[in-house]
């Protein structure tokens, strides 16, 4: 296991095709923030309705109680089913609920994880839920454990996967596969790095510059183009 895997909160899921997919788990903090956003939305909805329904007398109060019931227990279920495992708060934080085999959350799993909130909430403000989350490897609260669900970041492909074009140049020494991969990755990320940071990183490559000097970023991009097989 490399250092990256030990530091990262990637949860591996093997598909039937024998492909291992890494799900990026969301920890307690983003989930609390998502919950907070949802709580504010729910409170605002209830408050707005209370203003409107109070004109209708006891009938209105009755409707308010029913709405309160649905907001308390079924708001997350409804959103998780209709919005690909995301409530409004989860969408704002870029996380979503998945089954632990990386498939979309099912109705029964969503109902379960949201009913069991009542226990996770104990004794105060998700004390038990957070304790359980931190004690297993996948940040699952009790409801998640029972339902077999994970809360993960929605992975968006970042940036273009093409290299900046430069005339290919063969590296002066033979490079291992990992070194080659690192060079290409550096070239792909170059557009997002500040020039100073690019210099710093390029210097780490060792004596790949002319005459054993540290290489410039431009030179590394030329190596990368050669390694990737650019014409």
């Amino acid at each position: 296991m490399g250092a990256a895997e030990m530091l990262d909160t990637l949860s591996p899921v093997e598909t039937p095709e024998g492909i291992e997919l890494g799900l990026r788990l969301a920890g307690p903090l983003p989930r609390m923030l998502a919950w907070l956003i949802d709580a504010i939305i729910r409170f605002a909805m209830l408050y707005g309705l209370a203003l409107g329904l109070s004109l209708l007398g006891t009938f209105g109060v009755g409707m308010l109680l029913l709405t309160g019931f649905f907001l308390e227990w079924l708001y997350p279920v409804a959103f998780e089913m209709l919005m690909d495992g995301q409530t409004i708060g989860k969408r704002a934080l870029g996380v979503r609920v998945l089954c632990d085999d990386a498939t979309p959350v099912t109705l029964s799993a969503s109902v379960l994880r949201n009913l069991l909130r009542a226990v996770d909430f104990m004794p105060l403000f998700y004390g038990l839920g957070v304790a359980v989350m931190l004690s297993n490897g996948a940040f699952q609260r009790l409801g998640d454990l029972a339902a077999g669900t994970l809360v993960v970041y929605v992975d968006r492909p970042r940036g273009r996967d093409t290299l900046p074009s430069a005339p290919p140049l063969a590296p002066p020494v033979a490079l291992t596969a990992e070194e080659q991969q690192a060079l290409i990755a550096f070239a792909e990320r170059l557009r997002e790095l500040s020039p100073e940071r690019a210099q710093e990183l390029a210097a780490l490559a060792g004596p790949l510059g002319p005459g054993g000097a540290p290489p410039t970023p431009e030179r590394l991009v030329r190596f990368a183009n050669w390694l990737a097989g650019s014409p």
Partner: protein, 318 residues
């Protein structure tokens, strides 16, 4: 093979898969999906072993994850499932847990009966469960001669009472279920406490001679409401038991198996709570309906509930 050659050779396939995964993909494309998906899976495996760059692998991973979710995600049709649930799944799930339902019923009805009897022997026993204010409130709700029973408001409050019962009772049921996760203790406590509470109310009202208004009031919705409490408790006990005695499974695995058995029970019980609240709000509170008719309806509902859970859905096999 160099990365760029690999990319240019397969770029077309990846873009086609992206198009297929788009929400409004044409039918003709969708039939090609499984084959395309497996091709891209293979590309990802190749790209990883050849240590192609992170960006390329990320892009393929993203495609494969989306494809995986499309291919293996539950594409279940929800239409018609609701009828099937009440015709088969719900009663079957309850029968499957008959032992726990029985245990849950005992933990609920024994304290209930005890507190029903206790005030007849010693009138002060009611104060072991209820405080003086509550006793006073309950007495005023069931005072004989009121136009509406079980509440102290006018007729337009039927909706309010329905909503209150639905909100309050279903919440109790859900919490009893969730409490089962605390090694069953929460569910047991909830069952026993609610049993004591209901028993104390009934026992006290009977002792002071309000039975004539109380029994007809509760007759109608009792079957649905009390059974739903017992079922939620049983669902909670199922979770607790999985943690206490996981058998040959790990506790995590046992819990998941238990949960999938308990969910239909609790879902069905929630529907029963709503039905009970409906009966309680709109039927039970009608004071002008003669008591014998209320008892008859109550008896009919008890029979219906019993027959439903004993026999419904048996013909469908396992």
């Amino acid at each position: 093979m160099k990365q760029n050659l690999f990319r240019s050779r397969h770029e077309q396939t990846w873009e086609t898969l992206e198009a297929v995964l788009a929400k409004d993909a044409p039918e003709a494309l969708r039939t090609r999906f499984p084959r395309l998906y497996r091709q891209v899976c293979q590309h990802l495996a190749v790209a990883r072993t050849r240590l192609y760059s992170g960006r390329l692998i990320q892009r393929l991973e993203h495609l494969v994850l989306a494809g995986h979710q499309r291919l293996y995600g539950s594409a279940r049709q929800h239409r018609g499932r609701l009828a099937g649930f009440f015709a088969r799944d719900f009663p079957v799930a309850v029968r499957r847990e008959w032992r726990l339902v029985l245990l849950s019923a005992l933990v609920f009805y024994l304290p209930l009966t005890a507190m029903l009897v206790a005030p007849q022997i010693d009138p002060d026993m009611v104060y072991t469960v209820l405080d003086a204010d509550m006793v006073h409130d309950i007495e005023s709700m069931y005072e004989p001669g009121e136009a509406r029973i079980g509440e102290s408001r006018g007729a337009d409050s039927d909706v309010l009472m329905f909503a209150f019962y639905a909100y309050h009772n279903t919440g109790i049921g859900f919490r009893a279920f969730a409490g089962g996760l605390l090694f069953g203790v929460g569910a047991l406590f909830s069952l026993a406490f609610n049993g004591l509470f209901i028993g104390a109310v009934a026992g006290h009202l009977v002792r002071i001679g309000y039975g004539g208004t109380f029994w007809p009031f509760v007759a109608g919705h009792s079957a649905l409401e009390l059974t739903a409490v017992v079922l939620c408790g049983a669902g909670g006990l199922r979770l607790g038991l999985a943690l206490l005695a996981p058998g040959r499974y790990s506790r995590r695995h046992a819990l998941r198996r238990a949960a999938s058995r308990a969910v239909p029970i609790v879902g069905g019980a929630a529907a029963m709570f709503f039905l009970a609240a409906f009966v309680e709000g709109f039927w039970s509170s009608m004071a002008f309906v003669p008591a014998p008719l209320k008892y008859a309806v109550g008896l009919a509902l008890w029979t219906l509930v019993t027959v439903y859970f004993l026999f419904q859905g048996r013909s469908h096999g396992h």
